[in-house]
Amino acid sequence: MWSYAFRRVLMTIPTLLLVITVCYLMLHATPGGPFDSERKISAAVLANLQAKYHLDLPLWQQYLYYLKSLLQGDLGASFRYADWSVNDLVANALPVSLAIGGGSLLLSVFIGVGLGIIAALRQNSIVDYLVMLIGNLGSAFPSFIIGPVLIMIFAIWLKVSPAGGWNDFQISYMVLPMALLTFINISTIGRVMRGSLIEVLNSNFIRTAKAKGLPMSTIVFRHSLKPALMPVVSVLGPLAISSITSAVVTESVFSLPGLGKLIVNGAANRDYTLVLGLVVLVTVVAVVLNLLVDLAYALLDPKIRY
């Protein structure tokens, strides 16, 4: 286990390096420098500025400086927002994204697993059809269609919720975005949980448990739940990655001041350093999440021996 964990941790390093390097080179290949503005800067000032930001050095040295500052947790300065570093912008936006994204992921695990259990135990019941329906809707209607529909229903017709925006973690502004993200994730988790629990319930050791006369609750919660949860754990990694995508869309739909909005605005303003910094940050988060899920999987599943 420990050697597997060690190797798995080591494997994340080339991934991160690859992403950072490719992004950095792409950024470097675009024409125009940070000080090419309409206002002409005198040559001496330009030289000083370039020396300060190491822009006068060869590319590989600049790259090493960039890696060094990344290791120190410094994502650089924003191209467009004067006097703002990427770190400052992230510090403002991250809590919003964490609250919405993390909160809805937790919520959807509980709700999705719960619905999946009920659907598997009562096949062809209303809950079962509901889970299948949510699954179908979630896969056919993209978040940027469901989101506006939610706004239309709850904000415009029923007037029970604000249509978007953010007011310092006030719950009413968080409900719709979280509902949207949770809905999308439930469609995956619910389906996976339903399928895997049905499979487990059909296996031999459950038949034995039934033959012994164990009550259904014991069979489900003591014997079936753990093996049935394994596929759910294994989809959590990809799900977290796709949640990042849907979170970007969600923040855009509800105009939330989170990381997604920041990166979309940065892209629209061609704020190269901001976009690069955010991509690096989120990639690190995603890779670490994937790592944790893989380790959890190895820890939970005794069949896996590395």
Partner: protein
């Protein structure tokens, strides 16, 4: 003597076989019949074909252009009068034509990015599967890496840096859509490689190239077709997300994602501007998913 006897026997068998009513059933014919029996998939195919035809020929037949403003009809609700069947947007442009033109772009991006990513995926997966060993490990590690990366963000970065030309959007989407195919093709290649009939073919001295083209490729084809149909909706969806975020094709050119984004801004007063492109995209995705399911059932009989 012996040889002539064998020859006679072979001729007798051949004569008998040719005397039987010929009813060869190729696996492809089987698959086609299974697919045609699947009502949902066939209906989806017809609807998707209609949408595609409408997107290709509709703009030529309708009297309005996708970029001209009708000053007398801004934000007009759907009407049978003056030919604005889907109404107009807030700039007075005919929504039906815009939906169809947007569909052209979305479907075209879908088609091109699918072809490109499927090609890369097949070559990558087949190479890894055939060569095996260290090359295989390395190539599949790269696929794993690509999976771990939040692709939308890298796509945003690429679009920011490279620009928003049509072919760059296709390229950006392709870069993150080939891995599923590569994985599947590699797995299939590995399993085919170790099958007895390949061993038999080798034992009787069939050349490597004919083993590949007569025995391996036809067996890969089924799974390639399945995953191609599965790739299409994913690619169209990615294009729509990029367009929705304002990072796809640029005005006055449009795509379904752009139209949905436009509609979202004004849905309170003129909901149809959101409704029509959203419906067209959803129907397309839904149909593509059903066709994918139908293909899977038709071509992978074990899976039923």
């Amino acid at each position: 003597m012996l040889r002539s006897k064998q020859k006679a026997a072979a001729e007798a068998i051949a004569a008998n076989v040719s005397a039987l009513p010929v009813d060869g059933r190729s696996p492809w014919r089987d698959a086609r019949e299974r697919f045609l029996r699947n009502k949902a998939a066939v209906v989806s195919l017809v609807i998707l074909a209609l949408i595609t035809l409408a997107c290709i020929f509709g703009p030529m037949l309708l009297s309005h252009s996708y970029e001209d403003t009708d000053w007398e009809a801004m934000s007009l609700a759907p009407t049978m009068l003056n030919g604005h069947y889907f109404g107009t947007d807030e700039l007075g442009r005919d929504l039906l034509v815009r939906c169809l033109i947007g569909g052209r772009i979305s479907l075209m991006v879908g088609l091109l990015a699918t072809i490109a990513s499927v090609t890369i995926g097949i070559v990558w997966g087949a190479t890894a599967g055939f060569l095996g060993g260290k090359v295989d490990t390395l190539m599949m590690r790269i696929v794993d890496m690509m999976y771990a990366v939040p692709y939308l963000l890298i796509a945003i970065l690429m679009v920011t840096l490279l620009g928003r030309e049509f072919y760059l959007v296709v390229l950006t989407i392709t870069v993150f859509s080939w891995m599923d195919m590569a994985r599947v093709v590699r797995g299939q290649t590995l399993s085919i490689k170790s099958k007895e009939y390949i061993e038999a073919a080798r034992a009787i001295g069939v050349s490597t190239s004919s083993i590949i083209f007569r025995h391996v490729v036809p067996n890969l084809l089924g799974i390639v077709v399945i995953y191609t149909t599965v790739t299409v909706p994913g690619v169209i969806l990615t294009e729509s997300v990029l367009s929705f975020l304002g990072l796809g094709v640029q005005e006055p050119m449009t795509s379904w994602g752009v139209l949905i984004e436009d509609g979202t801004g004004v849905m309170e007063t003129t909901p149809w501007i959101l409704l029509f492109p959203a419906a067209m995209l959803s129907i397309t995705l839904y149909c593509a998913n059903y066709i994918g399911d139908g293909m899977r059932d038709a071509l992978d009989p074990k899976d039923r």
